[in-house]
């Protein structure tokens, strides 16, 4: 058997596993790997400006293509800078492989230069991690790591490779797939749970589908099956932030997003339903609100590939541990086999029509300022008019919620946002990663003036690789969501939420060789958006919006779905300590 160095084994494995792009940053402890990648014919390396950027790019790449994202960083600060993105990928179940350099094995534990206990630090923010001390084991571990990252509930896997292991040689043969000793995620449902679910669905008078990111992770087939099951049952469909796009926003059965900033109709339907089919979602606190008032009179069916998500927060009546696509396929097959017809849902839909009539996403306009909701709505309209494939990413905050509310998504993998960890600084690098994986798509990062500054250094990366990403900043000169909470909870004492000393984003764009556009009033909005979409290269848009707009509807922390606030006038007094203590 031919001998190869650890670095060559790694690169060979990446080729064999179909890796086309690696997002990374070199440093002392990964120099052998970088040398093995030098002028590589098939693997494209994207040089980032900060390792956190690399992780979010890998997430954006993964979420938009369905393939795992690959990151390569050095030891010590390279690895610690990657931790936020690794944690983000864990929370949002994104398949990602992070290869970190490590000091040579004989120096581990000696506080060597750029040494960090990467395995210790990432143990609880990865699905699994490895320290490889023997080049002979490297190939098997890399193949296993990809298998673990991409199967079951996807997640990030870290492979820490000491520098001497990259240089030392070992006999290499392409590893054959072998059944893992202990890792066997359940992907097919127990037949009895499918049977129970089908009968409950057939009998439901007030059903609602509550769908999440698991539908997207399960692949495009899962979205197609979800649409089919919704058609068969006639049920209304709502989704979490992470699941947007799995069900088309243009459908009559679509209720909009649910939860803290969800629509009136979605949250009331959840509250009044007699059956909730939870598909690949996890009853997050942002969705449930006050737990003892959550969907109080409903039976619940929960489809999740991760058994630990079942009954973690909300007790369910039927637990289907399976991959979403597989479970939906089984449900549809049995539904058809039993020739079920859905119950008469006319009364249920009439009630939903009543809630829809509240028009909870409406907003007042004064003709002087651009309302942020209007900016999103116009962006959506203009994107549709291009007829091109559009991928939207966001940072975290008010702009993220407005984007979720006012941009309609028709297909999966087109909406990339940090839901679980809520990482400011996610959206722009994610857009770069998505653009790498989808060179023909229009990729737009909807950002806030504060969030965009968290990874703004990646403008250089987009310039270097000629990636025509667009940044659309809703600039209200505040950390808007912080300011909104301070208004609601702390009598408008705006402690440190004002974005002082903002850069001139247009000039900043120009400094990086981008096109910069400023939109200052409603009369400039449409033309500004059109100019952004018509420009071939990267564009940064500084869209000045109403400074004190708040994001409604809103269910305050710890409140029930039925206690939703629809507009600012409903805000009453000071919160109790119990309410303040909730996130």
């Amino acid at each position: 058997m031919a001998e190869k160095s650890g670095a060559d084994i790694l690169v060979q494995c990446l080729v064999d596993l179909g890796v086309e792009v690696v997002f990374g940053y070199p440093g002392g402890a990964v120099l052998p790997i970088y040398d093995a990648l030098y002028n590589h014919p098939t693997i494209r390396h994207v040089l980032v400006r900060h390792e956190q950027g690399a992780t979010h790019m890998a997430e954006g790449y993964a979420r938009s293509t369905g393939k795992p994202g690959v990151v390569l960083v050095t030891s010590g600060p390279g690895a610690t800078n990657a931790v936020t993105g690794i944690t983000d990928a864990l929370m949002d179940s994104i398949p990602m492989i992070v290869i970190t350099g490590q000091v040579p094995t004989q120096l581990i534990g000696t506080d060597a230069f750029q040494e960090a206990d990467t395995i210790g630090i990432t143990r609880h923010c990865t699905k699994h991690n490895y320290l490889v001390k023997d080049p002979g084991k490297l190939a098997g571990i890399i193949h296993e790591a990809f298998h673990i990252a991409t199967t079951g509930r996807p997640g990030p896997v870290v492979i820490d490779i000491p520098k001497n292991v990259q240089i030392a040689t070992a006999p290499y043969a392409r590893p054959e797939f072998k059944v893992h000793a202990s890792y066997h995620p359940q992907t097919r449902a127990d037949a009895a749970t499918i049977d129970a679910a089908v009968e409950m669905l057939a009998a439901a008078e007030r059903p609602v589908f509550y769908t999440g990111g698991g539908v997207i992770n399960s692949g495009p087939q899962a979205s197609a099956l979800l649409r089919e099951l919704a058609a068969l049952t006639g049920a209304p469909v709502t989704s979490t932030l992470m699941g947007l796009g799995a069900f088309p926003a243009s459908s009559d059965q679509w209720l909009g997003m649910l939860g803290m900033h969800g629509t009136y109709e979605a949250n009331w339907a959840m509250n009044q339903a007699d059956l909730i089919l939870c598909v690949g979602a996890r009853f997050d606190d942002r969705v449930t609100g006050r737990l003892d008032a959550f969907a109080p009179n409903s039976k619940k069916i929960h489809i999740d590939i991760d058994r630990s998500s079942i009954n973690k927060i909300v007790d369910v009546d039927v637990a289907i541990v399976a991959d979403v696509a597989s479970a939906l396929d089984d449900i549809i097959a049995l539904w058809k086999q039993r020739d079920h017809r859905h119950a008469d849902l006319a009364e249920w839909w009439a009630r939903i029509a009543g809630w829809r009539a509240k028009k909870s996403l409406d907003y007042a306009e004064n003709g002087v300022e651009i309302m942020p909701q209007r900016a999103i709505a116009d962006l959506y309209k203009a994107c549709n008019a291009t007829g091109k494939d559009v991928i939207i990413t966001t940072e975290v905050g008010q702009h993220q919620m407005w984007a979720a509310q006012h941009f309609g998504f028709e297909a999966p993998n087109k909406w990339l946002t940090s839901g679980g960890l809520g990482t400011m600084g996610y959206g722009f690098p994610a857009a770069i990663g998505a653009q790498m994986g989808n060179p023909d798509s229009v990729t737009i990062c909807i950002a806030g003036d504060a969030s965009i500054q968290m990874n703004i250094q990646e403008m250089g990366t987009a310039s270097q690789y000629r990636l025509p990403v667009k940044i659309f900043i809703l600039n209200n000169e505040y950390m808007g969501m912080v300011r909104q909470w301070q208004e609601l909870t702390y009598e408008s004492r705006y402690s440190n939420s004002y974005s002082d000393s903002l850069p001139d984003f247009v000039k900043l764009g120009e400094a990086y060789g981008w096109t910069g556009i400023r939109i200052e009033g409603p009369q400039e909005l449409e033309a500004g958006i059109r100019q952004m979409l018509d420009t071939d290269g990267p564009v940064i848009v500084d869209c000045r919006v109403a400074k004190l707009s708040n994001c409604f509807p809103m269910i305050p922390s710890g409140a029930a779905h039925t206690d939703m606030l629809l507009d600012p006038n409903q805000i009453a007094g000071v919160m109790s300590d119990e309410a303040k203590a909730l996130v």
Binding site: G120, L131, A181, R307, N311
Partner: protein, 171 residues
């Protein structure tokens, strides 16, 4: 505002795990990260090729938390199997303790008498002290240590619980 806690039940969990570096940190860290309790934890390798270890964890929590602990442990990649011995039927649990007692005269004689009642063995002695070795349930050892406390207990070392289900089947 005050923080409220729920009523807890004691459970003995038995895990088989791949015997790899960091496995103990992975499991102990899961408990601290998610706020679960560990009353005791024992670990030793149990196969001829040293490939698999058994970890016995005594924990406590409300039933829903115990379910979560099992599900969270089960999804760790190197964990082969998690069994809740407390739920899975009759099982045997034992703990071993070394108990050092110092004293003279009547206390010393009483210590020996109690050791006999508890079937503890003397494994070290001086004119003024004994070390007793005792095995049994946690409760039995608690009782023994409690009695010795009154007649010259110096220090105690305990292994924590190991357990197996009764009967011929492996779990």
């Amino acid at each position: 505002m005050h923080i409220q806690e729920e009523l807890s039940q004691r459970h003995v969990l038995s895990l088989t795990v791949s015997n790899e570096a960091g496995i103990l940190a992975r499991i102990a860290g899961l408990f601290t990260a998610r706020g679960y309790n560990i009353d005791s934890l024992t670990v030793a390798d149990i196969t001829q090729d040293h490939g698999v270890s058994r970890i016995t964890i005594v924990t406590n929590g409300p039933p829903k938390v115990i379910d979560q602990i099992i599900a969270q442990l089960d999804r760790l990649v190197p964990v082969h199997k998690v069994t809740d011995l407390t739920e899975s039927g009759p099982f045997v649990e034992r703990e071993l303790a070394l108990v050092k007692v110092a004293g003279t005269g009547e206390d010393r004689i009483e210590a020996l008498r109690l050791a006999d009642v508890f079937r503890a063995k003397v494994v070290d002695t001086t004119i003024e002290s004994f070390i007793f070795e005792i095995t049994g349930t946690t409760e039995k050892i608690d009782n023994f240590v409690g009695l010795m406390r009154q007649i010259g207990l110096v220090e105690v070392g305990r292994t924590g619980v190991v357990g197996l289900i009764r009967g011929k089947e492996a779990n």
